[in-house]
Amino acid sequence: MKRVVAREELCIGCRLCEIHCLVQHSKSKKIIKAFRDERDSIVPGVHVEEKGYVSFALQCRHCNDARCIDACMTGAMRRDPETGAVLCDEDKCVGCWMCIMVCPVGAIQMGADKHVASKCDLCIGAETPACVANCPNEAIVCEETDE
């Protein structure tokens, strides 16, 4: 399956990943419009953590042994059988935050409306996740794994 790998020794902390994640998940997919209209209604699935000169982009690891799936009480959190991605079905999610509680990397957030969980969906449907495609330093890369 496809995995997004973040390389902290290369992350330059520009946060273009967050920006393009937001755009990718906006209705218009046009950056200026997305920021004008939807900036506050989308929580990017990728988040850059920074401390001193160390920084890295973090998004859902789509773990093989995904605790968020274990913990999800509604069955909203599930693994996409085709891509192996861990996805949150926002129609099923009721915002119990179990997933947030168990995610060891802290990659699941409350959605902007605080009603459902929000996380990286690997830009399902796009050829390359937006964070990967737009990282200017290839600090976020897509790798195929055997699993």
């Binding site: 790998v5 773990c63 009480m73 947030i100 509680m101 060891p104």
Partner: protein, 429 residues
């Protein structure tokens, strides 16, 4: 009759976990599920949302409607397992059949505790609140009786979620809790206060340090309640939410060892070879304490079920131990509690910060340089990282000052651990 390779009793998180665990190892072996409840597998915690009208019945299924079919599962729903015959390696069912098995999982879950010392608890309008059918009964009753006020007995998770649902239905609700605070098992006083405030803001009346002693009846229907402190509560309905206890009836009198729950080893196997137990019924090892005790939470149930399933299908996966934790949204106030949230000895250290206004409350309980418990109220976004630190028993002394800061994240952790976590599933950072 053919011997069923896998027989699962129970159709909730642990049972489903087992199906998925088995299917990881054995894509074809026939699985039979027996469940007393007639429903397609559904999300038990969702019942409060269903009652509140926040979700409709179509959203109740825990797994898609074609789930059994796709996973080659024969689901005998509405059929209760009545007896385990270990000699014959078969389970008798309420429809008069006997289902032989190779591997058996008992995931019969918990059973609501009915207080014995409450007078009038048999009255119409007194409900427990753990199943879909409970919701239907309550809804039916409320409709018939035009219920506008209700009493919820128990200020724990189920109690709060039910009272939240009632208040969403504009029912004036009172919650009574015997302990001195809400969520007494998982919250400390501060968190309880914040939870109480959130409930009160939603119109719920909270009465702690007392309990109901008698339910007043008129024509066999609930007409009010008398509390131990002598006060009376006007209510037309009572929900008993004192807690659940493992439903171990099925193994009573068999060789399957039980204590408070069915005792299992690290592989979720009971004292009897080939017989497993998982979920709220199981008494498995506690990650922090090391002793075996039932931990009735959904993540635990699913995980135990899955591990049991893997082992039933010939794999060998051990359970790292249960960790008590809960995430509850209380009338819009997100909360998370993990592990030991109130210091249990003098060698504990507490780190906390509180912003009453926001409100945001974070608290960590440390022992021996490791986090053993945490509470997050209001802001919960990176809580899972702390859960991970608790589960992995990470020495945090070196960076404990960062744990409660706003910018806390993986980046605050030592590089080795951070990379270990991120690469947990074979991913390089």
């Amino acid at each position: 009759m053919n011997r069923r390779p896998y027989l699962l009793i129970g159709n909730s998180a642990a049972g489903i976990g087992a199906i998925e665990g088995i299917r990881e190892k054995d894509p074809v072996g026939e699985i039979t599920v027996v469940c007393k409840e007639p429903h397609h597998t559904y999300s038990r915690p969702l019942i409060s949302y269903l009652l509140a009208g926040k979700v409709d019945e179509s959203r109740m299924p825990y797994r898609p409607v074609d789930y059994y079919e796709k996973n080659h599962v024969e689901a005998l729903l509405g059929v209760e397992a009545t007896r385990v015959d270990l000699g014959a390696r078969a389970v008798d069912t309420s429809d008069g059949c006997s289902v032989p098995f190779e591997k058996l999982l008992i995931a019969t879950g918990g059973r609501p505790i009915i207080p014995r010392d409450v007078e009038g608890a048999e009255a119409k309008g007194v409900f427990t609140f753990t199943t879909w059918d409970d919701v239907r009964r309550i809804q039916e009753f409320m409709e018939e009786n035009d219920v506008t006020d209700a009493l919820v007995v128990g200020g724990g998770l189920i109690g709060l979620k039910s009272v939240e649902a009632l208040s969403a239905l504009n029912v004036r609700a009172v919650v009574v809790e015997l302990a001195d605070r809400l969520m007494s098992v998982t919250f400390d006083q501060t968190a309880s206060n914040l939870a109480q405030r959130a409930l009160e803001r939603a119109g719920v009346e909270v009465r702690c340090g007392t309990t109901v002693t008698r339910i007043e009846r008129v024509h066999g229907r609930v007409a009010g309640a008398l509390l131990r402190d002598g006060s009376k509560i006007e209510c037309r309905m009572v929900i008993l939410a004192i807690g659940v206890t493992p439903n171990i009836d099925l193994v009573q009198g068999t060789e399957i060892g039980a204590d408070r729950g069915i005792v299992v080893d690290d592989y979720m196997q009971t004292s009897v070879d080939g017989v497993y137990a998982a979920g709220d019924v199981a008494q498995a090892v506690d990650l922090l304490g090391g002793e075996k005790r039932p931990i009735a939470i959904l993540p635990n149930a699913y995980r135990q079920g899955r591990i049991a399933g893997i082992n039933m299908a010939g794999g060998r996966r051990s359970f790292e131990g249960g960790l008590a934790m809960n995430a509850v949204d209380i009338c819009g106030l997100p909360t998370i509690s993990v592990g030991v949230t109130v210091p249990n000895g003098e060698d504990c250290e507490v780190l906390s910060n509180l912003d009453e206004k926001a409100p945001v409350y974070r608290k960590l309980v440390l022992k021996g340089g490791r986090i053993i418990g945490a509470i997050f109220v209001g802001e919960i976004d990176r809580a899972g990282i702390v859960t991970g630190l608790i589960r992995d028993k990470v020495e945090v002394t070196g960076f404990k000052d960062l744990l409660l800061t706003d910018g806390f994240g993986l980046i605050s952790l030592p590089a080795d651990y951070r990379k270990h976590v991120v690469s947990g599933a074979g991913i390089e950072v």
